[in-house]
């Protein structure tokens, strides 16, 4: 095992930086109108995005150079702290409830969402556990114990409720199970149970059922359930090959909801056309290619699983986000990594990239 440091993966770095840049520009374009209306400042969201991106880049550089092995000792403690935070956020009076979801902790304007930490925490936790005992995942009991941990996290997230993070966490964990060598029968069983679980969740909450109706029949329900999907398709459809020009989006005039967060991809499609959309998807392709490549050539199992998890966070979120925007999936509430306005989540995504870049320095290829 070589500990000689190399140059970090430059492609991954540049890809991330490009996505981040596109994001900053598009956040400004998408948000300036309503920022002006509601905050009297068209740069309200841009300012914050730049701040978090700046903080994120600093963190990225820090984790790029920080010896991630030193974190290994802190993983269990960190994971437990994360679980505590997830519990705290649910307690009325401690967690801040916005629009029916208890997602925030903090005082005044200093708030953060434990959901963001949980993605990193579970990746670290599983990477550590699965690399310490390589055979555990292969037997049914071992597989169940991982599932139990995942189940606790998922349950806590659903209680907020935060469907988006739940899906991201579950998807990422599933990728790690595959990579770690879980049995195919177990994986299929889990997938099947997962589908049943999702159906159960849908039936349980009427608003989720509405989302499904809106997904299946967006134009028939364009004034209620299908509204977001329809407005998103309107934006994309207006773009054609070259788009209607940067800053010229019409759908951003309050038609498209979550225009600078979950649906920013639609604004890209509207303003920059297929060219812009293709570029963004291409960048994500490059990102996951480099990310999984780092996993392949990682110096050890822990680093490899860590890289799989960190890359999968981005892969799962980007695929689901674009799937939602294009009406291919029901609306879930997942942002587009690096691009969407996201506050602290952007910083955490960049920390993830920093760790990935860090691993890439130890790759043997």
């Amino acid at each position: 095992m070589s500990f000689k440091k190399k140059q970090p993966d430059i492609v991954l770095f540049l890809t991330t930086f490009l996505l981040l840049s596109i994001g900053v520009i598009m956040v400004l374009s998408a948000s300036s109108y309503h920022a002006m209306l509601f905050y009297d400042n068209p740069y309200h969201f841009l300012k914050r995005q730049l701040m978090w991106a700046g903080l994120g880049i600093i963190s990225m550089f820090f984790f790029m150079n920080f010896d991630y092995y030193k974190t290994k000792r802190l993983i269990v403690t960190g994971f437990i702290v994360t679980l505590v935070l997830l519990v705290l956020v649910l307690i009325p009076g401690v967690g801040i409830n916005v629009k029916g979801s208890s997602r925030w902790l903090g005082v005044g304007s200093l708030t953060f969402t434990p959901s963001e930490i949980v993605k990193l925490a579970i990746v670290f936790f599983f990477a550590r556990a699965m690399s310490m005992d390589t055979e555990k995942i292969k037997n049914f009991q071992g597989f169940l114990s991982y599932l139990a941990v995942l189940g606790i996290v998922v349950a806590l997230l659903l209680l907020q409720p935060d469907l988006g993070t739940t899906i991201a966490v579950a998807g990422t964990a599933f990728c790690m199970f595959i990579a770690a060598g879980a049995r195919l029968s177990h994986l299929f069983g889990l997938a099947f149970t997962g589908v049943l679980g999702v159906i159960g969740l849908i039936i349980q909450e009427p608003y989720r059922l509405k989302r499904i109706v809106g997904y299946l029949k967006p134009f028939e329900t364009a004034s209620n359930e299908g509204y977001q999907t329809v407005q998103s398709l309107y934006a994309l459809g207006s773009g054609w090959l070259f788009g209607i020009g940067l800053g010229n989006s019409r759908q951003k005039f309050l038609y498209l909801p979550e225009r600078h967060t979950d649906f920013i991809f639609a604004i890209i499609g509207e303003e920059l056309g297929f060219i812009g959309v293709f570029l963004v998807i291409l960048l994500f392709f490059l990102f996951i290619w480099r990310g999984y490549r780092i996993a392949l050539y990682a110096p050890d199992r822990f680093a490899s699983l860590l890289a799989v998890g960190l890359t999968s966070i981005i892969a799962v979120q980007s695929v689901i986000n674009i799937g939602v925007v294009t009406g291919s999936l029901p609306v879930t509430g997942i942002t587009l990594p690096f691009v969407s306005y996201g506050g602290s989540s952007l910083t955490f995504s960049l920390i993830g990239v920093g760790i990935l870049l860090n691993i890439s320095r130890y790759c043997h290829k």
Partner: protein, 705 residues
């Protein structure tokens, strides 16, 4: 080192992710390229809010191009309620709107609290109030120009024009029947708004201009209509009648030159009038025509040769029909022995009953139907009635007898005048016309409506014979009060007892009428005068005939129909043809005319002749005066000409050439005018001119049997 299995699995994850991203690329391309155009159209559609721009409703002109119904624009006030609410000034806005527009505060507040994108506050508001509101600059309160229908002549021809509602939709009269042509096609202003109803920066504006409605040129002649209305007003006033109708028809073409009813309404504010006044009784109400119908009985009988003008009849004051007796109107002093012509002159019931019975049922009904009774005339107005005929299958001799004298059957005034016009028109029944031309907004002719002959009911011969007989009704018989100086008139009086609503005849309410045409030898116009329930004397010859005379005399003069007979011998004198001096310099013209032996009178202070009287080409006696009207072209002011001695037609030409309006009063020749001749007024000023008939002093109301 990472195990081979793990490498395979990582590769699998990567490939799956890449595949999914690839599918998303395809999906996006599908949305953008295949569904794109449709989605974009829908997106634009969802962002645009439409404001309708109403087309300008077409103008309705009389046959000479004088406007009878026009569209004027006025601003309307509307609110975008969400903008008002967002301004947080709703109380202030409610107060301002209710104060300026004189509206109830709560009503305004309710309107502003509605969850709509567009809400009218008040339509068609005066300029002054709009100015006040615009100065207040209230958020969310906007203005849009709308057209309002305006009838510049007020009640004139109200029943023909009908009226249009607040949304410029034709509701009655020609406005309704020609609504499609007049309405035009609405345009749109489309403005892009944000999802909350705010106009967005660099918003897309689309303007689809409205296509203005077509203009109609009616067959109505404003001047003749005016004459009819004037005479109708007068008789209604003097006789304190309940209702009245005058129709003037062009015999050759079927053109309706005038149609007036009383009671009447002002189409400018039709809603303020009782709905009953909207009713066009000339076409919607059937009545028993009485003796005026005897013209039809005579026409059929003569055409079928069952009677000759010289046939002798004896009137004992009544006639027996089976077991029933039909009395003559003058049974107290029977007409005794008389020829058919005298019988017509006397309007003798037994004569017509005899003639009717001679025809028999089949032939009688042939002419009833031939002349168009019991059928709609097809006049282009809403609500035409068919009238009620005694069903042929049920008609007995007594029905035939009463029908022959104009009872038992109910006809509409328009049916009657059309039938009588056919008698005058060599037997040709015409479709009554109201519209001559349809032109588009730029004046391009779209459709010319030609006279429409329906059928020939009687021969030319019969027509001529009957015309001569009817002329004697006026010269010798019951219609003497319709006698016109200078013209031969044919006509027939009518006095019918009104039918009570429950059936039976009223003992004290009558319908006095006169129908006729002139000149009798070469008929030009037919006119029908009906006075419903006159007080005092109620005979058609006394009540309706003088009205008929005034209407027809003024109309013939206005139409410049040359008088046929004159009481004075004409001296042979040297005639001079007046040269055309229009648009020439006044000093040159004066010399030219003087050298021809004409006197010259100059009106106005311009140096160019704009009107000459008599017109170029007229033959005048040497030494007579030519009047030259001049105008300074560069001024908006004109000098009021001296109109003394001018006919209505002459005065109206002179004034309109000068750019002035005329408000005529009376009939005959001009005697007094206001403003005075020589005074300077703005173009468009209305000059009141009083006309007096030259024989006014001899004209008196005849009262008596």
């Amino acid at each position: 080192m990472v195990s081979v299995t793990m490498k395979k699995r990582i590769s699998f994850i990567f490939l799956t992710s890449a595949l999914l991203l690839g599918l998303l690329v395809v999906r996006t391309a599908w949305i953008q390229f295949v569904m794109g155009k449709e989605l974009q159209a829908k997106a634009i559609d969802s962002r645009l809010r439409n404001i309708d721009v109403k087309a300008k409703r077409g103008i309705i002109y009389d046959r000479n191009g004088s406007p009878l119904a026009i569209s004027v624009s006025a601003d309307s006030v509307y609110a975008v309620p969400s903008q008002v609410r967002r301004s947080n000034r709703i109380d202030e806005i409610v107060n301002a709107l209710s104060q300026v527009l004189e509206l109830d505060k709560e009503e305004v507040r309710d309107k502003l609290n509605k969850k709509v994108a567009f809400q009218w506050i008040k339509r068609r508001v005066s300029d002054e109030k709009i100015k006040q509101l615009k100065e207040l600059d209230l958020p969310g309160i906007n203005f849009v120009e709308e057209n309002r229908r305006y009838y510049p002549k007020g009640k004139l021809a109200a029943h023909i024009l009908g009226f249009a509602g607040i949304d410029n939709q034709g509701l009655n009269g020609i406005e309704l029947t020609y609504d499609k042509e007049l309405r035009g096609v609405s345009g749109k202003i489309m403005i892009e708004y944000d999802a909350a109803g705010r106009e967005i920066p660099n918003a897309m504006h689309q303007y689809i201009p409205p296509v203005d409605g077509h203009s109609l040129y009616l067959t109505i002649d404003e001047t003749i209509q005016y004459i009819a209305e004037r005479e109708l007003d007068q008789v209604m006033k003097i006789k304190q009648a309940k209702r009245g109708t005058i129709i003037v028809l062009d015999i050759k073409t079927g053109d309706i030159l005038a149609l007036a009813n009383r009671p009447v309404f002002d189409p400018n504010n039709f809603a303020d009038y009782d709905q009953g006044t909207w009713r066009n009784i000339a076409i919607s109400d059937a009545y028993e025509p009485g003796s005026t119908f005897k013209t039809i009985t005579a026409a059929g009988a003569m055409e079928e040769n069952v009677v000759k003008p010289t046939d002798r009849f004896y009137d004992p004051g009544y006639i027996k029909v089976g077991k029933e007796t039909v009395k003559c109107w003058r049974s107290y002093r029977p007409h005794g022995s008389q020829s058919f012509v005298e019988g017509v002159q006397n309007s003798c019931n037994p004569v017509f009953v005899t003639v009717g019975l001679r025809q028999g049922k089949d032939r009688f009904y042939k002419y009833l139907e031939g002349f168009g009774f019991g059928q709609k005339t097809g006049i282009e107005l809403p609500g035409e009635a068919t009238g009620i005929l005694v069903p042929k299958s049920r008609a007995k001799d007594i029905d035939l007898a009463t029908m022959s004298i104009g009872q038992a059957n109910a006809v509409t005034p328009i049916q009657l005048i059309r039938a009588v016009a056919a008698i005058a028109n060599d037997g040709w029944l015409m479709k009554p016309q109201l519209v001559k031309e349809i032109r588009d907004y730029d004046g391009k002719l779209l459709k010319k409506i030609e006279p429409e002959p329906v059928r020939q009911v009687i021969s030319k011969n019969t027509s001529e014979e009957l015309r001569a007989i009817l002329e004697t009704v006026v010269s010798e018989g019951t219609g003497k009060n319709a006698y016109l100086e200078g013209y031969k008139v044919a006509g027939k009086t009518g006095t019918a007892q009104k039918i009570l609503p429950g059936g039976g005849y009223s003992s004290n309410e009558y319908i006095a009428s006169f129908i006729g045409f002139a000149p009798a030898d070469h008929p030009r116009i037919a006119a029908l005068v009906i006075v419903d329930s006159p007080q005092g004397v109620y005979y058609g010859g006394q009540v309706a005939a003088p009205v008929f005379k005034n209407v027809v005399l003024d109309t013939l003069r206005y139409l410049e129909v040359p008088p046929e007979i004159t009481g004075e011998a004409k001296f042979m004198e040297e005639k001079i043809i007046v040269p055309d001096v229009k648009n020439k310099k006044i000093n040159i013209v004066t010399k030219e005319l003087k050298s021809l032996g004409l006197k010259v009178q100059v009106e106005g202070q311009g140096d160019k002749v704009i009107i000459q009287l008599p017109p170029a080409g007229s033959q005048v006696i040497k030494g007579s005066t030519t009047i030259l009207y001049t105008q300074d072209e560069n001024s908006d002011q004109v000098v009021v000409p001296d109109l003394t001695g001018r006919t209505i037609k002459e005065a109206s030409i002179i004034l309109s050439e000068l750019g002035l309006e005329m408000a005529p009063q009376g009939s005959g020749l001009a005697v007094i005018q206001e403003p005075q001749p020589g005074s300077k007024v703005d173009k468009g000023t209305s000059v009141r001119v009083k006309f007096l008939s030259p024989n006014e002093e001899h004209h008196e109301e005849t009262i008596g049997p």
